[in-house]
Structure formats: structure tokens, C-alpha cells
Amino acid sequence: MRSSARNRELAALIPVALLLTAGFTAVFAQEGSRLGNASVIYGAYFFALCIVTHIYLRIRLPNADPYLFPLMALLTAIGLVMVYRIDENLARDQANWFVLGLVLFALTIQLLRDYEVLERYRYTIAAVGILLLLAPRLPGIGQQVNGAYLGVKIGPIAFQPAEFSKICIVVFLASYLREHREVLIVGARRVLGVTLPPLKHFGPMLVVWGASMFMLVFIRDLGSSLMFFAAFLALLYVATGRFSFVVIGMAMFIVGAWFFATTVPHVHDRIEVWLHPYNDPQNTGYQILNSIFAQADGGLFGKGFGQGMITTPGGSTLLPAAQTDTIYSLIVNELGLFGACGLIATYLLVTARGFKVALLANDGFSKLLATGLTAVFAIQAFVIIGGVTRVIPLTGVTLPFVSYGGSSIVANFVLLALLLLVSDRARREAQEPAGRDLALGVTT
């Protein structure tokens, strides 16, 4: 059973590596000049990295879900090819971050084998999470990008703390809700037909709501704010089973967001552009309009790898932030509606496997942790894809594993490591009789 799960993982990695090779070949063929064996070499490197990771998983987490890693590898492969197609130097960075991500992935698995330890430090982790969120506003290290405070730069290292913060917050919420879910359910009262959570335990909810609002106003990061709060509501719902809590939470968020949308210019502008992009097509509306025009050009089948237009023939930007925010629009442009559906299906499969982990998990913390990590991952994908397709206002959240960006890749590999840790234990406990000592000693 255990080896069969890993064998399935290995089998799934082969088509991923072939896809990456094919993708690079397509880009090279487009560029015409260099049709050598470079794509095969890149494919081989990629496959080798995946195999090493796979062997590590075989040793450390033999029971973990066999599909999550290949699915993430698939997303990374799509990302690498797309970023390479935009700028090969960026792709080199991305490849390095992929390696760094795998290292942190392995380290996380190594160090957090008993991930319950996280529960013990939950307040510390929450504090770290909030500190990370605050960091971009700190003088000296904070960076402002497009009016939002998203980045931190310490010496030569720049990163987006929100990517790591989301994991901290999910860990904290999972731990907190595991402990307090009973009282939240039992202590709930009905007031005017609406079930309200008990006031005593309402506090932390207000804290999370406050944190989201804080992000909206001080970090000016509408996307992360939305993502965090949605993940919180998802966890609250799963923990308590009270839909009314979600409704109250949503109402609070909408009221808060509406209030700040009318008072904070940055937030207001984002929403204004979302509703009326044609008001200022050359300026504020340029990115969202060209994101949509790029999709319109894609049609059903797309223009093919490397065929889409990112810059005008004159050299100015046609699709702004193609490697980050609007990478999905470029994918629709080059791979068409079918390619985009394939990408969305991949995210959906990751989500399905993540929730499967949560379903199989035996204890509350594991369940909530897996649910929270999966939800925040899925919602992040929704926020940015929804942003570039005008479902919601466009924000600067990355498309997990696909967008160019080291913080995003590394943080998401840590997220994956946690999911696999939960999965390994859950599946092991599910398949082996209880009471047997399985603590260690699995070797091949």
C-alpha cells in the first residue's frame, strides 16, 4: 500500500517532466534560433529534482498523499515555462527558488515531523504572522509597490511577508479553533433569529477581522486581506458548522471594506477601476483592460506557447506584470480557454486532494490545519484569477507556483510540506491497526 502510493507519485512525475520538456521545446521552436537539446536538459534537471524529492518522500513520508507533490510540480512546470517564455533571466531566478523551495520543503518535513508542536507555540506563531504583515510598513525595510505595501527588503534579500504570514495565521487559527470550537458552538445564542457566537470567544474573531481591515488600510493589500479573511471564515465554518457565523463575518468584512473603500483612496481606486475600467483606459484601466484583451485574443485554443504579445512591436508594455499578476491572462492568450480550464482543474485537484487529507485526518488540529492550508491556497488562486478576469477587483496576489516570485514559491512549498505531514500521519493511521508503534524506523 505504502509503496504503491509512492509508485503512483513516481508515475505521475514522469508526464510532468515530459510536459516541461515539451513546453520548453515549444518556446525554443517559437524563438527559432536555438533548437538544440537545451529543452531536454532542462527537462532532465527538473525530473532529477523531482526524483530526489520523491526519494526523500519515500523515506520520510511514505504514506503521504501521492498526488499532491506531482500536482504542485505540474504547476511549477507550467510556471517555469511561462516565465521562461517571458524572460529567461526571470526563469533562472524562478528555477533557483524552486530548488530553494524544495530545500525548505525537506527541512519542514525534517523538523516538523511531530507537527503538533506547532500548537504549543500558536501565540508565538500568530505574533510572527502579524509581525510579518506589519513589516512592509516598517521604515527602512518596507517597500511600496503600486501603492500597496507588499514587500520587505533586508540587505540583499527581498520578500513578500504576506506569503509566509498566511501559513502562520492558518496554523494559529487551526489551533485556536480546535480548542475553542466546542465553546463556540455550545455557547452560541440566538438573538433575533440569528445565531451569534458567545461574546467571550468572539474576541479572536474580531482580532482577525481587525487584522484584515488593518491590512486593507495600512498595507493597502486588498487581495491578501480578502484571502486571509476568506480562509478564516472557511475555517470558522468547518470548525463550528455554523453558517450564520460565516454570514456575520462576511457582513462585517463587506461593511468594513465598503467603509474603507469610500475613505481610503487606494482601495477606492481599485474598486473604481474594477467597476469602470473604460473610464481611464490608458492609465488606471490599462492593466485590467489589456488583461481581458489578451484573453479575448486567446479564443478556444490560444495562440500557442510563445505566440502571445506581451510588449508592443515598439517595445512598450502591452500586458503589464505578465510574469506575476496577469500570468493567467497570458496563459489564456497562449493556451486558450482549454489551457486555462486545465490550469483551473489542476488547482481544483490540489484542493480536492488537500480536503481529502483533511477528511482522513483523525484529530481536530490536523483536520483544521489541512482544511485551512488547502482553503488559503485555493482562495489565493481564486483571488488572482478572479482579479484578472474581472470577477473581483484586481490585486497583486500571486498565482501559486505559477507566478514569478520567490516568496510565493518557497512559502507554498512549506504549505505543501505541512499538508503532506498531515497526510502521512492520517493515511498511516487509517491503514494500519491502531496501537502499533510506527514512530520511526521506516527505511527502504
Binding site: Q295, A340, C341, A358, L359, T389
Partner: protein, 485 residues
Amino acid sequence: MNRQIIKLFAFIVALFAVLVGFTSYWSVWDAKALKEQDVNKRPLFEAQQVHRGRILAADGTVIALSKPKGHGANLQYVRHYPEGALFGHPIGYSFMEYGDSEFEQFHNAELVGEESEFSTILDELTGRNREGNDIVTNLDTEAQRVALADLEEAGFGAVVAIEPSSGAIKVMASNKPYDPNRIPEEIGRLNQNDVETPLVNRATQGQRPPGSTFKVVTAAAGLESGVITPETTINAPGSIVDEGIPLDNDFTKDWGEISLDTALTNSVNTWFGQLGQKVGQNQLFETMEKFGFGSIPPIDLPSNQVEPSGVFSEGELLHRNDPVDLARLAIGQERLLATPLQMAMVSSAIANHGKLMKPQIWNRVVDPDGRTVKHLDPSQYSQPVSAKTAAELTTAMEGVVNEGTGTNAAIPGVPVAGKTGTAETPGNKACGGGENENQAWFMGFAPADEPKIAVVATVECTEEFGGDIAAPIFRDVAETILNGE
């Protein structure tokens, strides 16, 4: 908690379904409308990535072709014109940043291959790049070369040659020419050149006083209406008074009682002035309109780059009910302006037994696989005169070349019919404001008994007469075309 997890998953599936829905909307359902948005510059840039078809002369000489530049998404095609300035008019140019003009603009859809929706979808499915069609024109490379060389020697002006039976344009030359290859570097400078106006196609846009060539139209109106026959004589004194102002013959020569042949051969002003008055404004305008005056000629060039001919007052066309000086109009004066193309249409109609064919530059459209997908189907624009009238006019016009003002147009061994014209244009700013400047014309066709080609040549800012400076151009061009047949 498992029930909630499953419900949460269902909710996320719903969220992703919304993403698929929106993506479908933008990429497929609303795609056409989005591509038509003014602020969407993608279609414009993509047009540059289409391999635009070639334009060829009748003999296969490549007039315009597109060469690829760059690779992949940066691939673009750039237009080249191997013959340089030779076909600058009427082919025009096509550059993404500077737009397009003339033939390139008019035939854009065929050149970029926008033939049918179906083939576009099929190309998308097969991943084949869209490729444009070639267009073979009626233009005669040698004759065009002769026409432009003669013009560059004679002065600013234009030559138009039409095959009377089909309306096929064999020559359309305009001096001052320009090299379309230089447009990206020089368009600003070319546009500002108000004196030489190299970007103006004088053949279609150069509205000039036609002078005595117009007497053929007056004669056509007289014969067609029955006011005169070839035998009718009119007394032509040295001078008549029209609207209180004397109208003189050259050297105020008194010709006495003469008929059409003598009057046309010697371009007798007082004879045609009186004929115009006899014919009346209504009939004269009707004949003019049938020849194409008063409308934009039905040629395959953008209508904003083709000017109508007629009597103008402050830039506005006058109609048959507006007051005009009829006798002076009858001899090509008054406020009458005509383009070389218009006078070529007059000549062509008479040569084609009275039937005016629509003048067309294109001949056939050839797809990338070499199949001819469309062929010029000659169509008649109007019949200004009967075959009988046309024959009578031809006889009179032969006299002009045989023994009259147009002897310089004679081609050895070939009967030629024609008419000279010399309009005085003193103080023409374009000519530098000299007092002795003329607009010299020659219009005719050959062979007179079985016309193969109708040609108009005009030279502006010259001190010479039509018979001296324009007739030799006519002869050279007509001879080149006839020798090439």
C-alpha cells in the same frame, strides 16, 4: 467536521466554476466585441504579424512585398517596394505606424487574407499562420517607367492609360513621385512639401483646368443631342462676345463657316463657344455627368484619395441649375477643373464605342497556394455617347493628330485620335507664380480604328503648349503599350 469540509469544497468548486465562466466570456463569447474596442491595440499589432500579400504588375514585376523581421511573438512583417518610386502612385504604402494609402489601403482586406470567417477558424485550428493574398494589377511596368521618365523631364504632371474595352488601368504616373520605402523616415517631410506635393497622386487628385481637351465633351454633347451633325457648319469669327467679355481664337483668326472636323483639328474657340450655347447647360451637364464629371470616379482607390471633376465654386461642385458661363465652359475654361483620370475616362469611353468601363487597377487576386480566387470582371459605368457619335468624334480627333495641333502624338504606322489642351494658369503659386505658365494636356487613344489604349498626359507649370509637351508623352506611352501587346 467532514460534512462542512465537503460543503466547503463544493463552494470552492462553485468559485472556480465562476472563473471558468468569466474566462469563457472574455475569451470566446465577448471576444469579437473586445477586439473591436478602440482602446484595444492588439488587432492592430497583429495585423503587422500577418504575411501581407504581394502586389504585382501585369508582367509579374513585384511592386510590393512583405519581409519578416524578428521571431516568435516579436515577428513582424515590413513592407518593401522593390521598384521604389516607380509605383509610389497609385500603389501607395502600408506601414503599421504610418498607416496606409491608395491601392494598399483599398485592397487591404484581400492583402491580409480576410476572405472568410470559416478559413480563419480553420487556420486557428490547424495552427496555420494567416497569410495574405497576392494581387496582380493591370499596370504595365515598361509603360509606367516611360511615363514617369517623360514626366520627370517635362515637369510636374500625370499620365493615365486605360484599356478602353475593360477599364484596366495600365499606367498611372504622377510627378513629383515619392519612394514608399522612405515613408517611415520621410513621411513628415513629404507631407509638408506643399509645392511638389509628392504624396498627392496628381492623376486622381490633381484637379486642373482641362483646357481644349474638354472640347471633345462639348462636341459629344452636340452630336449626341442632335444639335449638330458632322456636316453642320457654324460661323467661327475671330472673336465673339460672351457675357460681355470677348472670347477669342488664337491670333483672333476668323475661320468662317466650318464643320466639327475643322473646328476640332484647329481647336477653334469661337466655334465651340457657340456650340456650347446651342447645346445648352442642361445637355452639356448631362453628357459631362455620363462621362463621370460630378462624381468620384469608380476606381479601386480609397474615395477620399480620388477627387471628382466639374465646375467648382469655392470648392463646391456646381450643378446644372447653377449659373455658369456656358461658352467658356464649352472650351474648357470657366471654373472647370478635371483630373487626368477623368479625362482618361472621356478618352476611353469614346475609344470603346461610347461605353465607359469602370477604371480598375487590380486584375486578379491569387491566394497563397497560387489559385486565382477573384478576377476583374469588366463592368460598364455608363454610355455617354452612342457608337455612332463615338465614331464621328474619333474621325474628328484623328484630324487633330494628322494635321492639327496634335501632330506630335502621331505614331508611325498607327492611326491615332486625340486632342490637345493648353489652359493658361498665370500666377499659379504651385508654379512659382509665373505669368506664362500653362497646364498642357494631351488626351487620345490608339489605334484609332481599333483602340487598344486610351492615354491622357498633362504637364503643369509649363510655358509650352499641350501639343508640344504633352503629346510626345502620349506618343511614348501609347507606343510602349502597343509594342508590348
